[in-house]
Amino acid sequence: MREGLEWRKVIMTIIMFAGSILFLLPFIWMLVTSFKVETDVFTYPIQWIPRKWNVIENYKEVWFGQYPFTLYYWNSIKVAVTTTLLSCLVSAMAAYGFSKIKFAASNFLFLIVLITYMIPGQAILIPQFILYRNIGLFDSHLGLILLGSFSVLGTFMLRQFFMGLHQEYIESAKIDGAGHPRIFWSIALPLVKPAVATYAILRFIWTWNDYQNPLIFIRSDNLLTLPIAIQKFTSMSGEFYSLIMAAAVSAILPLIIVFIMGQKSVIEGIALGGVKG
C-alpha cells in the first residue's frame, strides 16, 4: 500500500509539473522572444528555441538606446532602496512604540493608524496630488519615497513581532539604565531582525512594481521608474516586440532574483501576515 501511495505522488508531481510549465508559459515566451530577431517573433509554430539569436543587439538597444534602461534602473533602485530603508525604520519605531512603551494616548493613536489602513489609496490620490503640487514635492524622487514610507501595514506586521518579545528584556535593560532609544536599537531591533528582513523584501518588491504613484507624481522623463518606462518604451517602439520583451525581462529579472533568494521569508511573511500589496 505504501508503494502505491508513492506512485500516486509521482504521477501527481508529473501532472502538476506540466501544469506549472503551462502556468509559466507567458514568462517563457517573453524570455525566448527577447532573444529573437524581430522577423521571427510571430512565426508559427512558435520557435521555443530561437532559429536566429539576437540577444546582445536587443538588450543593448534596450539598455543604451533612445530610452536608456540604465537610467530607469538607477531611478528604480534609488527609490525602492530608500523607500524600503525609511519604511522599515519608521514602521519598526512605531511598532516598538505601540507595543513596548506604555503611554497615555497610545491606544487612541493606534486606533487612528488602524483606521487609515482601510482607506483605499486611490481615494486620497487627488488631495495628495494637490498637496504635492503646493509644497514642491511633485515630480521628485523624494516625494515618491515619502509616499511609500509611511506604511501602516509594516507597523502592523512588525508590531506582532515586537509583542512577542518578552517584556523582561526591556525591563532589565531599563534597570541597567538604558533608555528606550538604546533598548530599541541594540536589543529589540536585533531580536526582530528576521521580521524586518521579510517586510523589507516585500516593501522592495511592492515599490519596484509600483505603477500608480510614479504615473501620477512623476512627470520628467529622466525621473521615470521602470514600470512607467516600460509603458513608454512599449508605446514608442510600437511593433518591435523582441525589444519590448527584452525590456520586460529586464524589469522583472531582478525581482525574480530577489524573490528566489528571499523566497522562504517572503512566503512565510505573506502567509503569516496575510498581506496584500
Binding site: 481615494a123 532609544p181 519596484w208 524589469a251 522583472i252
Partner: protein, 308 residues
C-alpha cells in the same frame, strides 16, 4: 541624610516623572509614522470628502472652487460611464471565487500529494511578484488578434474565428479577468498552504481509522477548517478588485468602448485626464464607501459562517 519630604511623595513624584518620560518616548517613537499618516492619509481623506461637494478644475487655482452640494453625486448616478464602471467592478468580483477555488485545490495538492513542494510554491507565485506592467505588456502581445501566439494556437487546433480578446468589447473584460486570476493564484495558494499547515494532523489520523476516503476528509475536515482562511481571502480579494488599476491602464485604458472601465480607472481618467477634481472626488467617496461597507460586513458575517 534626612529627607524633608515624606518618602511616598518622593516616590510618587518619581513615578510621575517616569511616566512623563515614557509618554515622551512613546510620542518620539510613534511620531514619525503618525505625522506621515496624518499628512499623507488622514488630511487627504478629509479633503476628498470635502472636494466631493465641489466643482473644480485644477487649472483654475483655489479661487475657482464652486460648491455644488450633492450635485456631483446626483450626476454620478445618471452618468452612464460611471454606472458601467461600477457594473464592471461587480462583474470583476467573479474572479475572486474562481481563483480561490483553484488556489485551494492547488494548495491541497502541493501540501500533500507532490514531491518538490518548494519548486511548485515558487512557480505558482512568480506572476504575483512580477511587475504587473511588464506582465500586462506581455499579455498584450500574446492576445494580439491577428497574429498573436494565442490565436495562432487556436487556429491551429481548428478554431477558424478566434476572439479578438482585448480588442473586442465582448471579450475585453473577460480577458483582463483571466489575467487577474492568473496573477492572484500564487498569493491565495500561499495563504491556503499556511492555513492547511495549521490543521491538526490527528484529525486526519482519526478519519483514517474510521476509513474515510480523501474526498470525505476534504469535505469534512479540510474545507471547514479552512473557512477562516477562505473568509480572509474573500474579503481582501473583494477589496482588491475595487483597486484594480495597473492592468487596465496598460492594456485597455478602459476600452474598447468602456467595456473594461472600472471605478479606479474612471476616477483617474476624470481627475488627471479631464481635470474634473470635484467630480473625481465624489467617485473617490463612493469607492471609499464601498470598501468601508465590505469591511464592516466582514465583521458581521464573520461570526455567522466561519469555523474557528
Amino acid at each position: 541624610m534626612i529627607s524633608k519630604k515624606p518618602p511616598e511623595a518622593a516616590d510618587k513624584r518619581k513615578a510621575w516623572s517616569l511616566q512623563q518620560g515614557e509618554t515622551l518616548a512613546g510620542f518620539l517613537f510613534v511620531g514619525p509614522m503618525l505625522i506621515g499618516v496624518i499628512i499623507l492619509v488622514l488630511i487627504p481623506i478629509i479633503a476628498t470628502l470635502v472636494l466631493g461637494f465641489a466643482d473644480w478644475n485644477f487649472v483654475q487655482g483655489f479661487d475657482g472652487i464652486r460648491w455644488v452640494g450633492f450635485q456631483n453625486f446626483i450626476n454620478l448616478f445618471q452618468d452612464e460611464m460611471f454606472i458601467r464602471s461600477v457594473r464592471n467592478n461587480f462583474i470583476f468580483l467573479l474572479t475572486v471565487p474562481i481563483y480561490m477555488l483553484v488556489s485551494m485545490v492547488l494548495a491541497v495538492l502541493i501540501d500533500r500529494y507532490v514531491y518538490f513542494k518548494g519548486f511548485f510554491k515558487i512557480a505558482y507565485f512568480v506572476p504575483y511578484v512580477s511587475m504587473t506592467v511588464a506582465v500586462a505588456v506581455v499579455w498584450q502581445v500574446l492576445f494580439q488578434p491577428s497574429y498573436g501566439p494565442i490565436n495562432e494556437m487556436l487556429k491551429a487546433v481548428g478554431i477558424t474565428d478566434p476572439p479578438k480578446w482585448i480588442a473586442d468589447p465582448n471579450f475585453a473584460l473577460i480577458s483582463i479577468m483571466m489575467i487577474s486570476i492568473w496573477i492572484s493564484i500564487g498569493f491565495n495558494m500561499i495563504i491556503y498552504i499556511a492555513g492547511l499547515q495549521s490543521i491538526p494532523k490527528d484529525l486526519y489520523e482519526a478519519a483514517d481509522i474510521d476509513g474515510a476516503n480523501a474526498w470525505t476528509k476534504f469535505r469534512r475536515i479540510t474545507f471547514p477548517l479552512l473557512s477562516p482562511t477562505s473568509f480572509f481571502l474573500l474579503v481582501t480579494g473583494i477589496i482588491a478588485t475595487f483597486k484594480v488599476f495597473d492592468i487596465i491602464a496598460v492594456m485597455t485604458q478602459g476600452g474598447p468602448i468602456g467595456s473594461t472601465t472600472m471605478m479606479v480607472w474612471y476616477l483617474y481618467d476624470t481627475a488627471f485626464v479631464n481635470l474634473k477634481v470635484g467630480y473625481a472626488s465624489s467617485i473617490a467617496v463612493v469607492l471609499f464607501i464601498f470598501v468601508l461597507l465590505i469591511t464592516l460586513g466582514q465583521w458581521i458575517a464573520q461570526k455567522k459562517w466561519v469555523n474557528y
